[in-house]
Amino acid sequence: MLVIRALWLGNQPARILYFITMENNRFDVIVLGGGPAGLTAAIYLSRARLRTLVLNIGTAGGQMVLTHEVANYPGVESVSGYTLSNTMKKQAKSFGSVIKNIASIQQLTLNGDVKQVVTGDGTVYESDAVILATGGRSRELGVEGERQFKGKGISYCATCDGEFFTDKEIIVIGGGNSALEEAVSLTKYASHITIVHQFDYFQAFEYAIEEAKQNTKISFKLNSVISKFQGGESFDGAYIKDVNTGEESFIKSSGAFIFIGYQPNTEVLKGIVELNKWGEIVVDSEMKTSLDGVFAAGDAIAKRYRQITTSVGEATVAALATAGWLHEQRRKKVSLAH
């Protein structure tokens, strides 16, 4: 930012420095996101000798690093998500991709010939094309007390934190497969579990519903939402509200596990590319978005199945389509010049 301000002041050395900086920050393609989709796109793009920058928020590997064991990735017998992520990252780097971890994106300009990404620290990166592979994350409830008690009563991972609630009463929030399956697995530790769900039916598969219903340690509060988590030094419980009557009650508990699905990381893309009502990026069969030169792949796009393999496949298509699009743009420019 300082460099840009100096440029406006007409400072000649700063002007030179600005152009050097921009030259270093100029790429053929910027990939937003370093999960399996982003890293696959980077592997294909850099192998095609395109200058490729991966800008990643969080740990490279995305949600894949969170998978304890990946046993259904073709050609690999069994591997931890962490190891698979590191291998993909190394592959992308070995072909020349630049991978940078950033804290946030301050500004995105994707509608012109030159795409621009301004990161949280004010650094400006430019490219001719962009692939959006921003992935998704666990959904938070967004109610009072949730952040305050994270790690001190509130958890999003049964296998990680279940044992801290041995012989204690807890709440599980959600009605999908994860919520019901994890509630059953938590009965290994907890003395009693109350499943709180906003609807009067579950979205989970029948087998998961049956298993939860048959477990004597589990009871249900349907048509109910959490309005607030309560506690002092330690977690005391949650206020729940009946969605039909509006009546509020308090459930005393030692902890709460939240499993209410995933949400796409597309907040920064709102108003820039077309998103559907769930905030997922709309793409065509070649992974093109609503903007020219902007492609997308992975868990942030509108699709039914979310697997490492689907992300890798989509990213392959996105990278090849991007390379083809860039080639065509450059061919047009050359023919116009003649």
């Binding site: 740990t59 931890s80 971890n101 946030s104 001190k152 999003y156 991972c157 990680c160 801290f164 030692s254």
Partner: protein, 117 residues
């Protein structure tokens, strides 16, 4: 031993040595699980930048990890990983559960300063 690229602390003696021999130390005590791995990843990414901080991990399930699990600063912690920050051998900050890069950076900057300044 955890499968990370960090320095591994496996015994209470190693823990004592590392916090006594280094002015600034960050130790993440966890498992190879969904809440812990992102924190190791952040630490690996920041290791190059914060050269004045020693980054290490410790397996939560090892009996030797009682030095962190049972520390007074971990009272009330109910989420993995337990992450401890030491200055001159003393705990200056401890967190429970997953932390993102911004949160870790903020603690490192507050407790140990930026980039060896």
């Amino acid at each position: 031993m955890l499968q990370t690229n960090l320095t591994h602390v496996t015994t209470a003696d190693e823990w004592k040595k590392i916090i006594e021999e280094n002015e600034n130390v960050m130790i993440c005590c966890g498992r190879m699980g969904p809440m812990c791995i992102p924190v190791y990843g952040v630490m690996e990414d920041l290791e190059e930048e914060y050269k004045h901080v020693k980054f290490a991990d410790m397996p939560f399930d090892s009996p030797e990890a009682h030095v962190i699990r049972n520390a007074p600063e971990a009272r009330g912690f109910m989420g993995l990983p337990f992450t401890f920050y030491y200055k001159n051998g003393k705990v200056v900050k401890a967190t429970s559960s997953i932390q993102n890069e911004q949160q870790v950076r903020s603690i490192l900057n507050d407790q140990f300063g930026k980039n060896n300044q």
